[in-house]
Amino acid sequence: MSARKSPRQQQLEAALLYPVDWLDERTGLLGGLRYFLFRNVPRDTNWMQTLGAATLTAFLVQAITGVFLAMFYKPDPNSAYESIQHITNDVTFGWLVRGMHRWGASCFIILMFLHMGRVFLFGAYKYPRELTWIVGVLLLALGMIEGFTGYLLPWDETAYWATVVGINIQASGPFVGPFIGSILKGGAEIGPETLARFYSLHMLAIPGALIGLIGVHLYLVVRLGITSPPWSPVAAGRERDDEEAPPTGRVGLVSPAPRGSASQGVDE
């Protein structure tokens, strides 16, 4: 391969690859990345199975736009509303960043539900993916709490009264209900302390938990593999006991395919 390369080319190649090799020697990340990218997935994956990636995208949009909003937002009842007006009306593309954060939240929630529906339809929560499902349910719950805490931040009438009632509902719960309610409020009335608490939860605690759980979720997805659509005649892991002949010509075409001839496997 490298026989035809001049010494100069070889030198250049080595110089270019050096940082990559340096990093890989110390972290071993390259192997992980290679595994992640080139691992096999079932050849009959469905468009519905892109909903997880879609949900992750919506989350990343929230994370990125959130960082920019935090640069301009002031979590204080006297200036929160004005800073939102400032972001929306004055800051260059501030309206777009805030709009994306606002509508991204709705998209995130919708996509989580759709993704959950897909997993349910495919029976993909069954052995051995139970834990992936549970982490997903926790992500959904945390995502909705993230929505609830973010809703107060604009400090307008809608935000304020929705939160008053939301906290009261929380406080009506048995046992720990009143306790959580008063922690959220931070005082007798909903005011500066409440806003500070919601802000901290919304941009530190809950996103941190979300990122951690998303990491666990993705790790489990890669480790356990994604399911084939259960109705697929070529589903990975299908039972073959009572299978006399391959159902269709297409399967016959592909089944003896040697490893590596992946182009035949792309049949969506």
Binding site: A53, V61, P77, G99, G117, K126, N168, V266
Partner: protein, 274 residues
């Protein structure tokens, strides 16, 4: 073979199949994922643009466009003409509170059902342990899922189209209330009725057929017939959950002692139409 052994054999076969017949994640699956990701970002940007440019064209961010206003008026804890409306993905819970009534069952709607849903969702893989994955051969799971979707969809829709009474319209009802309830001429009660109509009470409570039924709030048409007394009413308005543990109603202390007394007088004068 035990079911666990069968499960393990299934997964082993799955891994072998994926290894033998699968396609590499890059570029095949990643290509579809990336297209979908572009669509998501595109939709989010499109929503933001529609939101911004339809809301603004009449000047001022509080003008609602196709997707709602950019912001409503600044929060003022002093005004209580509020509409207790959460973001849309809580509508199904919000509307649930019209079905459960204070005080008997409202806790079911506020805490019971959400907790139950969460527990069921987490327990699902341990409850449904069959190996079958094909939807058509899982009729119970599919029917349950459809029922849950229909129920949540209906509640969300009902929550979205639920109308809150408008304060000015409610104000016009005050003379009729005075007539029906027989407190005409009682200046304090009439002033209280006016406050009642303006302070957002009807967003949750029903009074002689007017008003919403949010948050499981009780009907107040015959509140005065319960014999609670003006002092109790004032205390309750100042801090509802101090008197009724677990009440989601906000405090109306900011109205001031005078106004609270008028409101209490009005409530006590409401004995129900004869």
């Amino acid at each position: 073979m035990s079911s666990l052994e069968k499960n393990r054999a299934d997964h082993k076969r799955y891994k072998e199949d994926v290894k033998k017949e699968g396609k590499p994640f890059f570029p095949y699956a990643l290509f579809h994922d990336s297209l979908m990701q572009l669509v998501v970002v595109g939709v989010i940007i499109a929503l933001s643009v529609i939101w911004k440019f339809t809301a603004q064209h009449e000047g001022g961010g509080t003008h609602p466009g196709l997707l709602g206003p950019l912001y409503t008026e600044k929060a003022d804890p002093g005004t209580v003409s509020f509409v207790p409306r959460p973001d849309w993905y809580f509508y199904f819970l919000f509307y649930l509170l019209r079905i459960f009534k204070w005080p008997d069952s409202v806790i079911l709607g506020t805490v019971g059902i959400p907790t139950l849903l969460l527990v069921i969702a987490i327990a699902l893989p341990f409850v449904d342990r069959r190996r079958e994955r094909h939807p058509l051969r899982r009729p119970v799971a599919m029917i349950t899922a459809v029922l849950v979707i229909v129920a949540m969809g209906t509640l969300t829709w009902k929550g979205a189209v639920a109308k809150e009474p408008i304060a000015s319209e409610a104000g016009a009802l005050v003379p009729m209330w005075a007539q029906k309830q027989g407190f005409k001429g009682n200046a304090d009660a009439e002033a209280g009725a006016k406050l009642f109509s303006q302070s957002g009470c009807l967003n949750c409570h029903v009074y002689t057929g007017a008003g919403g039924q949010n948050l499981g709030a009780p009907e107040l048409t015959a509140e005065g017939a319960k014999g609670r007394g003006i002092d109790w009413q004032i205390k309750h308005l100042q801090c509802p959950s101090c008197v009724n543990a677990g009440s989601p109603m906000p405090s109306f202390k900011t109205l001031g002692a005078d106004n609270l007394k008028k409101l209490a007088t009005f409530l006590e004068a409401s004995k129900g139409p004869k």
